[in-house]
Amino acid sequence: MNDTKKAYILNTISVILLFILLHLMLTGGMFTRRWQSVVILLCINVILAVSLNLTTGVLGQIALGHAGFMSIGAYTAALITKKYMADFSATDQVPLGIYVIALIIGGLIAAFVGLIVGLPALRLRGDYLAIVTLGFAEIIRVIIEYLDFTGGAQGLRGINKMTNLYVIVAITLVVIFLMFTLGRSRQGRAIISIREDEIAAESSGINTIYYKTLAFVVSAFFAGIAGGIYAHSMGILTAKTFGFMKSVEILIFVVLGGSGSFTGSIVAAILLTVLPEVLREFADYRMLVYSILLVVMMIFKPSGIFGRYEFSLVNTPKDIKRYFAKRTQKKKGAVQDDNNTES
C-alpha cells in the first residue's frame, strides 16, 4: 500500500474518531454553553488563519486587510439568511441548505472583491501591498458603516443564529483539507515558487500574475466563509469589529504558527483562542502578552513555532523517530569526540 492511500485511510479514520469524540462530548454534557461558543470561535479563527496563510505564508505577500474580506462574507451571508427567513420561513431555525448556500455566496462575493482588490494591489510588492490591502479593508469598513441596508454604524441586528457544532466543525475540516491539497497541488507549487523567487518563477514560465491573484482570491473566499459562520454565531454584526486590529490578530496566528505552515496556523489559532478563555482573569493583559510574544518571537525565532513544517499522520511519526535517532547519534558522536581529545 503506498503512502497516499495510507494517508487517506488514516485521515478518514481520524476524522470519524474526531466526530465520535465530539458527539460523545456533546451528548455527555461535557461542553457548557460557553465552551460550545469557544469551539465555534476556534473554528472561525482556524479558517481565517489557514486562509491568510495561503497569501502570507505560501505566496509570501503580507496582507493586512483580511478582516475586510471576512466582513464582506459576514454581511452577505447574514443578509441572505435574513431575507430568506423573513420571506419564506415561519420558524427560527435556519435550514442547513440555506446556511451553506449563504456561506458560499458570501465567500464568492468576498472572492470577487478580493479579485478587484488583488488585480491592482498585487502589482505592488512587500510593504506597499500591506498598505494597500490595509487601505482597502478600511474603505470596506467605512462603506459598510455608510450604507443603509447593512445597518450602518448601528450594526446589523437580528441575524438568525446557526450554532450547530457538527456542521461548523465539518466545514472547518473541509476547508483545512482543501487548503492542504491546494498547497501540494501543481497550483500550490507554482505559488510557492513565487514566494521563493518571483523573477525566477516568471522566467521559468509561471504566470505569476495569475497565480498571485488565484492565491489572493481563494484566500478571500475562505475569509468570507469564516465571516459567514461568525455572523450566524454572533447574531449581530458591527463594522468596527472588522478593523485593522482584527486583521492583525489573524496575521499573528499565521506568523506565530510559522508562516507557510498550515499546521502552524491551525495550532496557533487554537492556542490563542483557547488560552485567553482559560486565563479569563488576565483578560486585560491578553493583547499586551500577544504583542510581547510577537516581538520576542520575531527576534529569536522569526520562522514561527513550526517554521514550514506540515503535520501528517503518515510522515510525522517517521519524522519524530528520525529526529530522535539523529539526536542520540549526535550525542554518541559528541561522547566519542570527548574521548578522542582526552586520549
Binding site: I62, G135, I139, L251, S291
Partner: protein, 294 residues
C-alpha cells in the same frame, strides 16, 4: 470664503500629518522599515504632555512647557524601541521587521491603556487668545500656531539635513548603508538620531492635534498614524520634502471631502487617494522611480 476656510482647516490638519509623516519617511529612508509603532508615539506624546501639565501647574510654570517634556520622552522612547526591537532585526527579511513594528505598536497601545485606563481624557486648553478675523474669515489661534510652527520646524529640519554634518550622515546612510559605514559614519548613532528626531516631531504633532481635538485616548494614534503614513507614501516615501507636501495635500483633501462630500466617507477618500497613487505612481509625487535589478 467657505472654501478658503476649509483650505485653512485642511492646512492645519495637513501640518499635523506632515510632522508625523516626516518620522515615517525618515525611518523608511534609512532602514527601509514601515515603523507601524510611529502612530503610537503620537498617543504616548499626548499622554505624557497631559501628565506633565498637572505637574507644571503645581510648580507654577506655564503649561506650554509640556511640549518639551513630551518631545524628550518620545525621543528617548523612539531610540529605545529601535535599540530593543529593530536593531536585532536589521538584516532580517522585511516581513519580520514589519511584524515586529506591529507588535511594538500593540505593546505601546495596550501598555498605555492599562496605565491610563481606556476612558478618554480631556486635554486642557493651551491657546486662549481670540481668533483673528480677516473679512469674513476666522482663523483660530491654534490653527495659526500649528501651521506657522510646523512650517518653521520643517524648514529647520530641511536645513539640518542639507547642511549639518549629522544631517549629511543621515542622507549618506539612506543612500548606501555599506558605503556610509566604510566612510567612517557611525551607523548606529545615525539611526538612533533619526528615530529621536522622528519621534520628537510626532510628540509636537500630538500636542498640535490635542489643541484642535482635545481628547486623549489610547487608540488615537492608530488612525492618525495610518493617515500620516498615507501622506508619506503620497509624497514619495523616503523623500523629506515629499512628506511635507503629501501631508498638506492629504489634509486639504480630507477637509474638503468633509465639507463638500460626506464626513463619514472622509477616511475612505483618504485611502482611495493612497490606492490610486500607489497604482499609478508607486514612487509618490516627489519620489524617484527605481528599476528592479535581478
Amino acid at each position: 470664503m467657505e472654501f478658503i476656510q476649509q483650505v485653512i482647516n485642511g492646512l492645519q490638519l495637513g501640518s499635523i500629518y506632515a510632522l508625523v509623516a516626516l518620522g515615517y519617511t525618515m525611518v523608511y529612508g534609512i532602514i527601509k522599515l514601515i515603523n507601524f509603532a510611529h502612530g503610537e508615539i503620537i498617543m504616548v506624546g499626548a499622554y505624557i504632555a497631559l501628565t506633565s501639565v498637572s505637574f507644571l501647574v503645581q510648580m507654577g510654570l506655564p503649561i506650554w512647557l509640556c511640549v518639551f517634556v513630551a518631545v524628550v520622552f518620545c525621543a528617548i522612547l523612539g531610540i529605545l524601541t529601535e535599540r530593543i526591537a529593530y536593531r536585532p532585526l536589521r538584516n532580517s527579511p522585511r516581513l519580520t521587521s514589519l511584524i515586529t513594528a506591529i507588535g511594538i505598536s500593540f505593546l505601546l497601545q495596550n501598555a498605555f491603556m492599562l496605565i491610563y485606563s481606556p476612558t478618554p481624557k480631556p486635554f486642557p486648553k493651551m491657546v486662549t487668545a481670540a481668533p483673528i478675523t480677516v473679512g469674513s474669515l476666522q482663523i483660530s489661534m491654534s490653527a495659526l500656531l500649528t501651521i506657522v510652527i510646523s512650517i518653521v520646524i520643517m524648514l529647520v529640519l530641511q536645513i539640518f539635513i542639507q547642511k549639518n554634518r549629522l544631517g549629511k550622515a543621515m542622507r549618506a546612510v539612506s543612500e548606501d548603508y555599506g558605503a556610509a559605514q566604510l566612510m567612517g559614519i557611525n551607523i548606529n548613532h545615525t539611526i538612533s538620531l533619526t528615530f529621536a528626531i522622528g519621534s520628537g516631531l510626532a510628540a509636537v504633532a500630538a500636542i498640535f492635534y490635542c489643541m484642535s481635538y482635545p481628547l486623549v485616548e489610547y487608540t488615537m494614534g492608530t488612525m492618525l498614524g495610518l493617515k500620516a503614513f498615507v501622506a508619506a507614501v503620497l509624497g514619495g516615501i523616503g523623500v523629506i520634502p515629499g512628506a511635507m507636501i503629501g501631508g498638506l495635500v492629504l489634509g486639504i483633501v480630507e477637509s474638503l471631502t468633509k465639507a463638500y462630500i460626506s464626513t463619514q466617507l472622509a477616511d475612505a477618500v483618504t485611502f482611495g487617494v493612497l490606492i490610486v497613487v500607489l497604482i499609478f505612481r508607486p514612487a509618490g509625487i516627489m519620489g524617484k522611480n527605481t528599476k528592479e535589478k535581478v
